[in-house]
Assembly symmetry: D2
Homo-oligomer: 254 residues x 4
Amino acid sequence: VTARISIDLNADVGERFGHWQMGDDAGLLEHLTSASVACGFHAGDPTTMRETCERALECKVQIGAHVGYRDLAGFGRRSIDVSPTQLHDEVAYQIGALMGCAQVAGGAVGYVKPHGALYHRCSGDSEAAAGLVEAVCAADSGLRIVGPPGSALLFAAERQGLIAVPEGFADRAYEPGGQLRPRGRAGAVLDPRSAICQAHEIVAHGTVTARDGSVQPLAVRTLCVHGDTPGAVELLRSVRAALERDGVIVERFS
Amino acid sequence: VTARISIDLNADVGERFGHWQMGDDAGLLEHLTSASVACGFHAGDPTTMRETCERALECKVQIGAHVGYRDLAGFGRRSIDVSPTQLHDEVAYQIGALMGCAQVAGGAVGYVKPHGALYHRCSGDSEAAAGLVEAVCAADSGLRIVGPPGSALLFAAERQGLIAVPEGFADRAYEPGGQLRPRGRAGAVLDPRSAICQAHEIVAHGTVTARDGSVQPLAVRTLCVHGDTPGAVELLRSVRAALERDGVIVERFS
Amino acid sequence: VTARISIDLNADVGERFGHWQMGDDAGLLEHLTSASVACGFHAGDPTTMRETCERALECKVQIGAHVGYRDLAGFGRRSIDVSPTQLHDEVAYQIGALMGCAQVAGGAVGYVKPHGALYHRCSGDSEAAAGLVEAVCAADSGLRIVGPPGSALLFAAERQGLIAVPEGFADRAYEPGGQLRPRGRAGAVLDPRSAICQAHEIVAHGTVTARDGSVQPLAVRTLCVHGDTPGAVELLRSVRAALERDGVIVERFS
Amino acid sequence: VTARISIDLNADVGERFGHWQMGDDAGLLEHLTSASVACGFHAGDPTTMRETCERALECKVQIGAHVGYRDLAGFGRRSIDVSPTQLHDEVAYQIGALMGCAQVAGGAVGYVKPHGALYHRCSGDSEAAAGLVEAVCAADSGLRIVGPPGSALLFAAERQGLIAVPEGFADRAYEPGGQLRPRGRAGAVLDPRSAICQAHEIVAHGTVTARDGSVQPLAVRTLCVHGDTPGAVELLRSVRAALERDGVIVERFS
């Protein structure tokens, strides 16, 4: 008998703002096991956050705090020179705010994942990563931290005694060094067929094939599919169906 | 033997934003028993909130969530036609955010008080008041609600089983009907001497003398001194000293 | 020989913000003669404004400043108690900002129209209307002012010697008193068939049939079709085609 | 007979936001010849901008557009990864907005100077500098550009045919390479005595003595004194008095 492989599927949700829509959250939540909810700094507003938590609870999807830079105009995708102290405080603020919204929806927050430019920064900047993790720890030491395997972020999480959850991306190309290919570069976002293949490779073999054909190790516990790409729901549905056909158990990490 | 009278003294603090200062929080916190901390919607930012909580804890001052309209440009003093649902969600968000900041400072939130135009609205608008109270209740049913005696807000708090804390103002004039004289009108803010007298009258006699000389009943458990008026620290110190000379116990409500 | 009737067709455009989309501006601009461009307070950002002006110029569509309350979270649709002085200054700021963006696109601003809750306020509040008009006048006394016929806004414009352009709505229901039925009420937004009929009635007969069946006079020089309603481009195309079939000349006001 | 030396004195003004104050603009404007007015992105709001323009006109002080990153929380002092295209558009927006406010005050804008992190970026990043200058050029090719001597910014200005105005700082230390010592480093801001000496050296000799004692050439046409440092008015008054005692003509550049 072999132990069956299990994987978590997460996506960014709750990225509306006021009258502006973004992504098909209702559709995504039907196929996810974890939902990274924007906390109002790069996207999201209190009503969107509360409604997204309610919908996640109905779908039995785990709620995570998708914390980002204070930058609605740039959707959190622009690097901003925020000091580690301010970063720590902004993360504490955002996690608390989502906890408040989750609570009125009858739920709780299970994990924290940085968004966009902050995700990128916390991968390599150990001071920023430590600031973020310290804020998470003070909020609730039972919270998990989601980030790239081998990153400064997961290293900081483990040092503080938090559970670190390594993450791979189904629909983003990897560079030979193992990093994500930056958005805006050609080929950064994969077509659906390639994304399904990459999901299979990551989950079944623990590797990813980089743009130059080299095969990199990539051991992950959750797979991300971006929620704001066109056809995201269909892609997510296909990825999940393909994984389940392979005998993989799709379930939330814990 | 007579039971001694006790009163709480509160003020608005944490109203800085980024590089902009407001009020002398360190000075105020030496004389307060409760501190209403801005939560980032009308004033305050995460670092200010965390630092204000730290300082309040050092001074053994109770932390309250001063929730307001999302209106930095208007400092929360402008009426905005926010729906009761959005209000409910924005209050849940702000309380959670302050809880997050209080927690990294090693403390907790003890009460909620609406700010500025929202305070005014919740005094009379029972739908808005019920929305606010419902959010408070979901966040933590042990939180107290501070508001004007006889207001829709305190009525809603009691209906939901929360402890309602009636509040009077030392440095604001009262109209014959018992309402605060609106800011911007002549004589709305009292001079220090009159404020000390009014504090004495409210605490010792449970009444306030309105602008027309009529005496109104005003039974309160906390007195507010505004933190952003010039000389606020000196006024607060004088009010507290005068009350203590009268034998009043100045202590936080609970 | 009879003089042929002419009418202008306008819609709200440039209502994107950062990564968030709103409406099909490219589609709308093919059928409009005037484009009311959001100026960054209730929607719009500098790049969106510049690109929208470029596209309007390509389509030979007149550019107007759609000025609103500073309220991205509420899309300018919530009443805010902004003082007439601040309103005046915020309008001067927004017109100037759009002029800056129009200029780098090689064009100029032809008119000013308030948006949402500010449109509603300027219809009846003569102090607010005068403040707005004064700012327009100082910016460029050749600018036209678009507003409801008989409104405080158009009255103020004429008093200051500006050209007032009365406006009707193709896709919004009218109340018996001649006001627009407020958004959010049942039946406030008309279905496409009714909108085409109403456009015909307004342009051909100078009247509108209110919800109670009463016929109101409504003499207008421009007709608005909302750009953010689903099917807005198709509706606009149909309205324009129907008017042209009737022999109406669709051309910008001047 | 020798030609007398002349110099312009500029400072940052209009940096209030809503209810938050910053600096003593009225005091500064009495001693300045040019006023760099914040345009609402890093500081300033429409009413502050209009009032600052009015006051500058009363004092016969030239009005400049102090354009910055969209970052009220960071006061424009944090580097943000804004694309050159967005930068271009945001500069066009801000210049236009200030022109709108200056116009209602009865004045006009004479120059453009980037603020904080944007000033730093445009010193060395020629793509950003070119974007900024292009926007200035489209707004009004008579506008001057203020920046560090030898910078990418002034080079871009001259390439586009704009008048470049080299600037020195009275109250900021210079590094051996000729750059400003970054804020936050020890010794970055000079004490008043040293600032007066440095102003004299720059204006009389066209040099500045760096922190290591080396003497750098520094040929400038305007001197900046920061408006938000404590004692800024007194410093400015002293610098101006000392220069005038030396026979220097203090007058606006043109």
